[in-house]
Structures are given as C-alpha cells and as structure tokens.
C-alpha cells in the first residue's frame, strides 16, 4: 500500500520517470539494455517543448556555435555523444550538406552506428520529425519506415492484459504515434513495411497499431471523393498550371488559347510571359448578340486555388443591371407553388446570368496589367468581331484600395503566380 502511494506521489509531482516510476537521476551509469535508459535521464511529457527550447537557444546564439562546430573535428566527441546533444548535433551538421533524402537516410544510419544500443532514440526520432521538411522527405513513406525501424523489435510488445491496460512503454508509443500523425497529416498511405514494423515493435494491442488501422480504414474511403480532382503532382510550369486552372472553371465546350509572345513594354523576360484565354461557342454566340449600349466589364483578378497554389483569373462579363430591378419581380409566396405560378404568368425565373451578368470569356495571365488585358480583348476580337463595337470597362482590383466594387477578398494581396518562384 505504501509503495502504491509512493508511486502515485512520484507521478503526481513529476519528479520521476514515467516509464519506470523511479526518480530522475536514479541511474547515473545506466545498466545494459535497460529501456529506461534515457527516460531516467531527462524525461517530461513536454518533451517537444524541451527539445524545441534547446533548438531555439541554439539559433539564438547562432553563428558563433556554428563556427565552433566547424572548427571541431568532424567525428563526434564523447561530450557530443550524450543523447540530446547527439541528435541536435547530427542534424545541425547535416543541414550544411545537401538537403535531400539521401542525407536523411545517412543520418539515420549514422545514429545507429554511433551507439549500438541507440540511446536517445526517442529524442532522435522527434528531432528527425522536426527536420523532415528541411530534407524534403515529408512525402516519402520510406523515410517514415526508416524512422520506425529505429525502435527495437520485440522489447515493447505487451505480454499480458495488464501491460495493455497500462499502455506498455507509453513514451515510445507516443513517439510512434507522432510519426504516424505526421504521416497522416501529409496524406501519405502507409505500406506493408510500416505494418510489419509496427507489429514487430509494439504488438497488436498497442496504440500505434490501432492508429495504423485507423489510417488504413479511413484513407481509402476518402481517396476519391473529390469531384474536381487534381493530378497528384501539380506542374511547375505556370502555363500548364494556368491551363489546369482554366479548364477547371471554364465551360465544358470552351476552347483554350495560349499566347506567348508579346510586344508589350511591360514584358522583361519574354520567355515567362503568357496569356491563356478560354471561350466556348455558346459564349461567342451570346457575345455576338450583346447590345452595344450596355457596357462590358473586365474584372479581376479573382482567386483560384489549386491545392496550395493561388492563381488569378480575369473575367469578361456583361453588367448586372438586373440585380436591383428584379428584386421586386421575384415571387416569394409561401403558399402557392413556385413552379405553377411561373408557368401561369408565363414568366421565366431569373437566370443567374441576368442576376449577375453573363460571363463571355476568361483568362489567366502572368502580368495583370491593363495593357496585357487590352491585348486579351484584342485577341478576342479576332474571333468575336462584334466585340469591337462594345464598350469595355476595366475593373481591376488593387491590393491597396478597398473599393466597393471589390468582392471583399481581403488578404495579403492578389499575387499572381510568378514564374520565377
């Protein structure tokens, strides 16, 4: 009974290792193959905070430390073999090398070679998770598998129901869960190797395996639900991106035309300038019937997001004079049947075009200046001769002005896709 209260006391006051329940510093020279090795050295549940403050302190002191490290010998000294410094130093040094997945895999191998007992593997895995974006391995399933491979196999498997209930090796399970959570956040599908590793390391009745099962259940269900799917890897060529974007939002029968050579004074690098325009035959018909006393508006740029890339498109549309005049005409009877009423009065319900103004053409361009859009209109006039007789008003949204015309898109500014980035 007394030992139980002592245990609880330890837990509550957080003076002890949460894994072996012994107070911190019990093991100075840890025994061989004890799983509590690093946990007894310095473990709190705020492990991330702990490592992150260390990393931020490093960044604060900055260049001095880096110079010192470079002056030191390349092999790791005994001092730096200590767990926290080890993972920190390994990654700091690796940032000087090329930032690709080979360096990352090499790092993991180095960690295994430095100490066969792999002390500090939890800290190492957590630091690795933080550095994954730097090495561009976030979308690579092999990187996650290699991280999970660091865990020893068979040691953490629960052998009886009490171990399952009490979350056998909770620290290790938490770290594995973090790895799997990162996998889930990056929307990557785990593979058979992940499954085998998790089962070998933690056993069937563990939280990481349960999380893996959840991922394998829900991901396939939500894989194909997007009715406007995008290719897995978006093209980097801005012209192709613009085509992709325009095809997504334009009419089914629309034809896309791409212009790449300009006589503008505004185009410095001719190679990267483009103008993609889309118009369908139906829109051409409507435009040819447009009355000349009603103006046309060129509006833009409106935002279109393709996953994480923002494009801007411009629209040539007629004005929306019907908006105010039709408010009184719209029938809003609650008791009578909507359809029957309209049929009886021989009225058509207001089409969306009349309410807002029909769209006649759309375009995307690398440079959204008025000259470029003038060029677009001239291009359109080749196919729509009637357009030459119509007045066109340019209503371009500006980052700085908050005019009433703007559709309230407030933000950092309407940046078009720049070809250089």
């Amino acid at each position: 009974m007394a030992s139980c209260t002592r245990l609880l006391h330890r837990l509550v006051l957080n003076h002890g290792c949460r894994v072996c329940y012994l107070p911190f510093g019990t093991f100075r020279r840890p025994p061989l193959y004890s799983a509590c090795v690093e946990s007894c050295a310095k473990v709190t549940f705020r492990q991330e905070l702990h490592t992150s403050t260390i990393l931020s302190q490093e960044d604060a002191t900055g260049s001095k430390q880096q110079q010192q490290q470079q002056q030191e010998e390349s092999h790791l000294s005994a001092e730096s073999k200590r767990t926290l410094s080890l993972s920190r130093n390994l990654f700091k040094e690796a940032t000087n090398k090329s930032a690709d997945k080979e360096t990352f895999y090499q790092l993991i191998r180095t960690f295994g070679e430095v100490d066969k007992r792999r002390r500090g593997h939890l800290q190492f895995i957590e630091t690795a998770l933080k550095y994954m974006p730097h090495f561009n391995v976030e979308k690579d399933i092999n990187a996650y598998n290699k991280l999970l491979d660091i865990f020893p196999k068979g040691v953490y498997v629960a052998k009886n129901v009490w171990q399952v209930i009490f979350n056998h090796f909770p620290e290790q399970q938490t770290v594995a869960l973090k790895v799997l959570q990162k996998l889930e956040d990056n929307k990557i599908m785990p593979n058979n190797e992940t499954k085998k590793l998790l089962l070998d390391v933690f056993g069937r009745q563990s939280h990481p395996v349960k999380k893996y099962q959840r991922i394998m259940y829900w991901f396939p269900k939500f894989r194909n639900i997007n009715p406007f799917p995008l290719p897995f890897e978006l093209p980097s060529d801005p012209v192709l991106l613009a085509e992709l974007g325009l095809k997504r939002i334009c009419e089914y029968e629309a034809e896309l035309t791409v212009v790449k050579e300009f006589d503008d004074s505004s185009s410095d690098t001719n190679a990267n300038e483009f103008l993609t325009s889309s118009q369908s035959p139906e829109q051409k018909d409507l435009l040819s019937q447009h009355p000349p006393y009603r103006p046309l508006f060129v509006e833009g740029p409106f935002n279109l997001w393709l996953r994480d890339i923002k494009l801007g498109y411009y629209v040539l549309r007629s004005d929306a004079i019907y908006l105010k005049s039709l408010e009184g005409d719209i029938v809003k009877d609650e008791d009578e049947e909507f359809e029957a009423d309209y049929n009886m009065r021989n009225m058509k319900p207001p089409s969306e075009d009349q309410l807002e103004g029909s769209v006649y053409a759309m375009c995307m361009t690398s440079n959204g200046s008025q000259e470029r859009l003038n060029l677009w209109i001239k291009k359109l006039q080749e196919d729509n001769p009637h357009l030459a007789r119509l007045p066109v008003i340019f209503n371009l949204f500006d980052n700085n002005t908050e005019s009433k015309e703007r559709e309230g898109r407030i933000g950092e500014g309407t940046k078009l896709l720049k070809p250089d980035t």
């Binding site: 009715p227 009419e251 089914y252 409106f302 997001w305 908006l323 559709e407 950092e412």
Partner: protein, 276 residues
C-alpha cells in the same frame, strides 16, 4: 444502390428543385421569434417577466407539436433551411477562428458584391507557442443555436429528408460541412458529423448535394471508431469549416442551404457501424 455525392458545377440557371419549394409554416417560426428575448437589450428582464415569456413560449411549442408541422413535409420534398434574403440573414451565422486557441487566422462575414453572404478571411497555420498545441489554423462559419422556452436548445427535425444541399461559390479550396446535434449525455456533447465540401472555384455557382448517410462522426476533432449516422431528429446547427492546412486567404459565397428528400437514396449509412 450506392449513395453518391452529386455536384452540378456548371449550372448557370436558377435552380428549382424537384418538388415543391416550401418554407417552414409561418405559425411555427414567426411567433417564436417575437417571444425570443433580444440579447442586445441592456435592461435586465424581471423574474416574473421572464417566467411569463417562457411559459408562453412553452405553450406555443406544445401547440405546434400537437399540430405536427412535420407532417406537412410528407407532401414536401424539400425545405429551405437558410436563404440569403438581405443583410439580416447574416445574423443567423457566427464566425469562429483559431484565435480562441491563440492562432492568427482571421475571418469575417460580409455581403458580396453579388448580394450574397460572403465568408472570407485568411488562414494562418502558425502554431501558437504555448507548448501544448501541435496544430492550428481553422475558421468556422456556423449557424447560431436557437433557444426555446427556458433556454432549451431548439432542435430542427430533419428526419423526412435525406440530402443536404448548398448553393455556393468558392475559390477552389476544400471545406468541411459539420452538423451539430443535441444530445442527452455530456460525453456526446462534442459530437460533430462532418463531410468534405470541395469547391470548384470560378465565376459560376456551384450546387452541392451531400446525402446525410455520408456524414461521419467525430468528437473533439478525432474521427470515432464506433460510427453512427447523424441524429436527424435533433439537429441544432450546421457549419462550414475551412481548415485545409494551406496558408492563404479564402472566400466563399453562400446562397442558400436546403434539404431534400431523394427517394433514390436507399443507403442508410455509408460506413461500417461496428467498431472497427
């Protein structure tokens, strides 16, 4: 027959749904509103004043329950839950961002230049530095919870319907539609039924229809192992969440939200009911 999510992105004409469009019977909606206490008023209601008001409300609710306005929906096939009718339609919504946990996203409600509700803002995924939060970045648009007699939550009964429709115009980003239901146990107070809403972007309006069978259950942000269909008897509010982990501004124009009964939807629930 599989329940399918239908998207009609190219429709440029005003949609009249199959069946008769009817609003909620006036006797039910209008009188309740007059008896609802206006929370903007400064003066405190007297005890007897509040008692009489609440008892009046309760008798009204009892009478409407006897009249069973839901029986009328046997002849309806759709019902408008919300429609943009003017600036006062904005008052039925509220906006919640991650500023509540210390994040930096901003969002606001407004009226778009095409005279519809505009939900716009800037999503910021910077994690607040408090040592505990791991992820951040969400903005939610949610219909306000209505309160009936004695401050009890008003439950909307959507059992005669099978599909949720929205008429909107987005900018290509993906949202989540959430349905919140009233429940007896506090354990289930955080239950949210959600599904994904993919917007097309572009200048044309988009009609989204999602069957109720597709909504999956999650609680406190985690999808639950034991799933169940959305509790249509006790719906309290519907919301839209923007949380697609991409930094940048978003905007969504909302025209209307309505529910319909689609006889071709034979599936009760899409996901397995047993604990997986």
């Amino acid at each position: 027959m599989m329940a399918c999510v239908k998207y009609q992105g190219l429709c440029r004409h005003f949609i009249l749904h199959s069946g008769v469009l009817r609003t909620i019977p006036v006797a039910h909606a209008g009188t309740l509103k007059t008896l609802h206490r206006s929370f903007s008023s400064e003066e405190k209601e007297s005890f007897y004043g509040s008692l009489t008001r609440n008892f009046k409300l309760m008798t009204q609710e009892f009478v409407t329950k006897l009249k069973s306005p839901n029986i009328d929906t046997m002849f309806d096939r759709s019902r408008v839950l919300w429609e943009y009718k003017g600036p006062e339609s904005l008052k039925e919504f509220k906006v919640v961002t991650d500023a509540t946990i210390g994040g930096q996203s901003t969002a606001k409600l407004g009226i778009s230049r095409n005279n519809k509700l505009l939900f716009t803002g800037n999503l910021n995924t910077d994690v607040p530095k408090d040592g505990e939060t791991v992820r951040s970045g969400f903005c939610t648009l949610k219909t306000l919870q209505q309160f009936g007699s004695f401050n009890r939550k008003v439950e909307i009964d959507l059992t005669p319907f099978t599909t949720l429709h929205l008429r909107l115009r987005g900018d290509g980003r993906a949202y989540m539609i959430n349905m919140y239901c009233n429940s007896y146990f506090t354990l289930t107070h955080d239950d949210v039924w959600s599904y994904f809403l993919f917007t097309r972007g572009g200048p044309h309006w988009q009609n989204v229809s999602i069957p109720f069978s597709k909504f999956f259950l999650s609680s406190q942000g985690r999808v639950q192992d034991k799933q169940s269909p959305v509790d249509l008897e006790r719906v309290t509010s519907i919301g839209l969440t923007m949380a697609d982990a991409v930094n940048g501004e978003f905007s969504l124009e909302l025209g209307s939200i309505h529910v319909t009964y689609d006889a071709t939807e034979s599936e009760e629930f899409v996901y397995e009911r047993y604990q997986t």
